[in-house]
């Protein structure tokens, strides 16, 4: 781990260890809120906030946490930041908070965040944990952006709420439905694996 440069530490979250496409973590919010780009991005940014600050706190107090209760401690730290994010969204972006429904509080059980605390922040310095959290959240933002852009474009013919498809375009209702989320993500996982195997072979 220590041999990785700062750049590599950041980049691994984007592709090699992308939380959604490669590790299959955090699938619930990924599928649930990607009907439109706006809700997808709001979710991704809220998760980013929680991940970065939890990593900072956990990595700075890692020596004080007894190992028997470490998971419980992580959960309390994460839950505090999720509460902050939830209250913030309710206060300043009420319509987005309504659209996201129970999924903002559910960030607390997002396995990406707990996973990074256990696998990385509890063993590495504050600086490295910050870079790692930034990388992982960028990977999460990337995944949610791709998924929600495809679903909004095909499902409503819009992007960020603006009409981009011409009048000839008939929206695919299925993309807005839960079924569309499952199928799109399944196909994207397949494409990610295909790219991976192609690049491996050429090396």
């Amino acid at each position: 781990m220590a041999t990785k440069s700062i750049g590599q530490e950041y980049l691994k979250g984007l592709w090699d260890e992308n939380p959604v496409f490669r590790q299959l973590l955090g699938m619930c919010p990924t599928l649930a809120v990607t009907g439109t780009v706006i809700t997808g991005m709001a979710m991704a940014l809220a998760t980013t906030f929680v991940l970065i600050f939890s990593s900072l706190v956990v990595s700075s107090i890692k020596k004080l946490i007894p190992s028997q209760v470490r998971i419980a401690t992580y959960i309390v730290v994460i839950a505090s930041f999720v509460t902050i994010a939830d209250q913030f969204l309710k206060a300043y972006f009420y319509s987005i908070s309504e659209a996201l429904g129970p999924y903002v509080p559910l960030i607390v059980v997002n396995c990406i965040i707990l996973g990074r605390q256990e696998a990385f922040s509890s063993k590495n310095s504050v600086g490295r944990s910050l870079i790692d959290a930034l990388g992982m959240s960028s990977g999460f933002v990337l995944a949610l952006f791709v998924l929600s852009a495809i679903r909004e474009l095909l499902g409503a013919g819009t992007f960020l709420g603006y009409q981009v498809m011409g009048p000839w375009f008939k929206p695919w209702i299925i993309m807005i439905l839960p079924a569309g989320a499952f199928i799109t993500l399944g196909v994207l996982l397949g494409i990610a694996l295909l790219i991976e195997s192609k690049t491996k072979r050429s090396q």
């Binding site: 619930c28 599928l31 309390v76 129970p102 509080p105 199928i183 397949g190």
Partner: protein, 191 residues
């Protein structure tokens, strides 16, 4: 009538896995064999029923009367985590055969978003006590139904010729999508 509507809605129409996308991790992870999928479903149903009771009590007897709604997230997650541990210890003492059947799945459930989601959705919908209990139980049944169905399909898929990159999670998600589409047809039952 109202209670029957909650039951049908939680099992078929607003199925936890296929409508709310909660509990996807066990849905993909423990759905390779029908037997283990069924045990997982039972364990989830069991914990969901208890969670519905406990979270309702906490929410309506402690948090709301004292104006502490903003502590919902922290208190629910802590209570659920300790509850699962307690249930695990209790079952191990009382009924070893049941522990054999559910044991390894119980710890996994702590991090299962379906349980936390259940507590939050029940609080959001402001269910009464009886409604919350029915909601918890029937959501568990809905989860069991979905995970057993997909396990059945995946057992058959082992013999099918799936394109290499889609093997594993990819094809499971696509199958889940088609199942969600089928479940979508149940919406007509409620209106």
């Amino acid at each position: 009538m109202e209670l029957a509507a909650i039951f049908i809605s939680a099992v078929l129409v607003q199925n936890f896995v296929l409508y709310y996308f909660l509990g996807i991790c066990p849905f993909l992870g423990v759905s390779k064999k029908i037997d283990s999928a069924f045990s997982m479903g039972l364990a989830v149903t069991f914990v969901m029923s208890i969670t519905a009771v406990v979270s309702w009590l906490i929410n309506n007897l402690i948090l709301i009367p004292f104006g502490l709604d903003y502590l919902q997230i922290v208190s629910f997650i802590l209570v659920i985590a300790s509850l699962v541990q307690l249930v695990e210890m209790f079952i191990r003492k009382i009924s070893p055969p049941l522990y054999q059947a559910l044991g390894i799945y119980l710890p996994l459930i702590t991090t299962n978003c379906a349980i936390m989601g259940l507590a939050l959705i029940a609080a959001l919908n402001e269910y009464s006590f009886v409604e919350a209990v029915i909601f918890g139980f029937s959501s568990g049944i809905g989860f069991t139904l979905a995970i057993v169905l997909i396990a059945g399909i995946r057992e058959q898929l082992d013999l099918a010729d799936v394109p290499e990159p889609l093997k594993g999670a990819g094809i499971a998600l696509i199958v889940a999508g088609i199942m969600a589409l089928a479940f979508n047809g149940f919406i007509g039952m409620l209106t």
